[in-house]
Amino acid sequence: MNNFIILPILIPLLTGILLIFFNKRFAVQKAISLLAAASSVVIALCLVQMVYTEGIQSLYLGGWEPPFGIILVADQFASLLVLTTSIIGLAAVLYSFRTIDRERERFYYFSAVQFLITGVTGAFLTGDIFNLFVFFEVMLMSSYVLIVLGSTKIQLRESIKYLLVNVISSALFVITVAYLYALTGTLNMADLSVVISENGQTGIITVVAIMFLVVFGLKGAIFPMYFWLPGSYYAPPSAVTALFGALLTKVGVYSITRVFTLIFYHDTGFTHQVLAWLSAFTIIFGVIGAIAYSDIKKIIIYNILTAVGVILFGIAANTSSSVLGSVYYLVHDMIIKCALFFLVGAIAIITGTNDLRKMGGLIKNHPFLGWLFFVSAISLAGIPPLSGFIGKLKIVEGGFEAGEYAISMVVLLSSLLVLYSVLKIFINGFWGEQVMTTEQEKGNTKGMLLPIGLMAGLSVAFGFGIELVSPYFTQAAEALLNPEIYIQAVLKE
């Protein structure tokens, strides 16, 4: 029992409510958002340290013992993701100050951001499968608001599709929970795991497992359920796309990880093999999209798919090093996607276009932005001293251990194409002949370099300080590999 672990959910929730009352007072709005985002980071840091020293923390809401009440569980995996989420939240709020216009701010933009973060942290911390559904809906509803806010034509068009896909996947989620409840009679994740291990993972449980894969695959955009993502993420402003790209799909990935390491791990032969092949195709389709486009935002959007595939392959291979690699890569990817969406947003503001063929020579006037982009780009591809390296190394190592040679090679080759796709932006956008002089530029980077620098710097620090943080990640991977640790901590058997 520890009341502290509800704070990462409570702070953004209360801030979101408070911000509704200040929708016309821009300065107050910004100050409150900034304060809340900063304090969330501090609290998440404390949470990570607390879980590190004292083990898995849980909170029985209302004092009802599991499996009867709703519980919140903070294991190290969830805590690290909460910390990453709060840092991204802070950076996104800072970035929004400069890039989001008055009209959007007046219509509750910052409230929606806070509610989005409430949903995401809630989904990470909950220990109850139906509660996970509710937090998914909190997150999705705020994302509907954020995607359509401003109501330009492209936003209206794409949010209809986004909303429809998510309504269907939510209905599927409810259906799947209904089946699972009929089979096991419980909704608590730890208790579900116990019931399934007692009665054995029968064929029908495997069916439910695959249904969960479909549901979370729709949220997390894995092959063949990714078709909605490129269009939808293209529509909103960059600050919103950064939040979506860094957080939303990763909640789907987190849920797949949680469900397949905690609940459905008794018959890995079939489910994990399906997951492995789906992630391989996700990687392949992601890189094809990334190299096909000459639109900077589209390129980064397709790179989300590749990363989702890489992370899920680590989970599917299910060896100790591949799961550890997935945890590393998940955190790395959240940070770096946020940085990259900020960067392409900044480029689009300077040049006034997303088209790579219409820009060039930006390095002359924006050297700092250019080198930040370069560092982020090679970090995304996984060049050794930077943060993407260790995760991919461990995933490939684990993949070879598990005998998945073909897919491990796909992961390695995908790095090359990912590197090509982002360096294409760097070479065409920053090098070459200067297309526009300072006077012709549509905007400047004032106020944007701070959040970009924060995220890129964090990524670099994560890469260089890997030995400092590795005990935390090892602890996270350990709990994922041994579900007994989680079950013990929750049910206190």
Partner: protein, 113 residues
């Protein structure tokens, strides 16, 4: 009883899928309505349809029906209410802005904003 309900739910899902694959936006929204009806009925069915009193302790019966699925349905209903009303307003707005409710005409290219 559960068998009959399962078949009815199956018909609802079929109708929902058919409607959601049509071109008119309003038909699609009606489809999502039917889909959530089906999902809610399915929770009730999967919770078991045995005879028993309503889950009110004042009834003082020996057997009650399972209260948990009812709470889940209630939650799911208000969530789908919220989403559906948002969806309807979105459809109205996009009809105003884009001048069509035909999904085929909502296909767009990136640069034509």
């Amino acid at each position: 009883m559960e068998l009959l309900m399962s078949i009815v739910v199956g018909i609802l899902f079929t109708a929902a899928t058919y409607l959601m694959l049509s071109r008119s936006l309003l038909r699609i929204i009606i489809g999502t309505g039917l889909l959530s009806h089906g999902a809610h009925l399915l929770i009730l069915t999967m919770g078991g349809l045995k005879q028993g009193a309503s889950p009110l302790l004042g009834e003082e019966a020996s057997l009650y029906v399972d209260p948990l699925p009812q709470a889940l349905i209630l939650t799911a209903i208000v969530i789908s209410f919220g989403v559906t009303s948002f969806f309807l307003v979105l459809a109205y707005r996009s009809y105003q802005e884009l001048g069509t409710d035909d999904m085929d005409q909502l296909r767009g290219h990136d640069q034509n904003e």
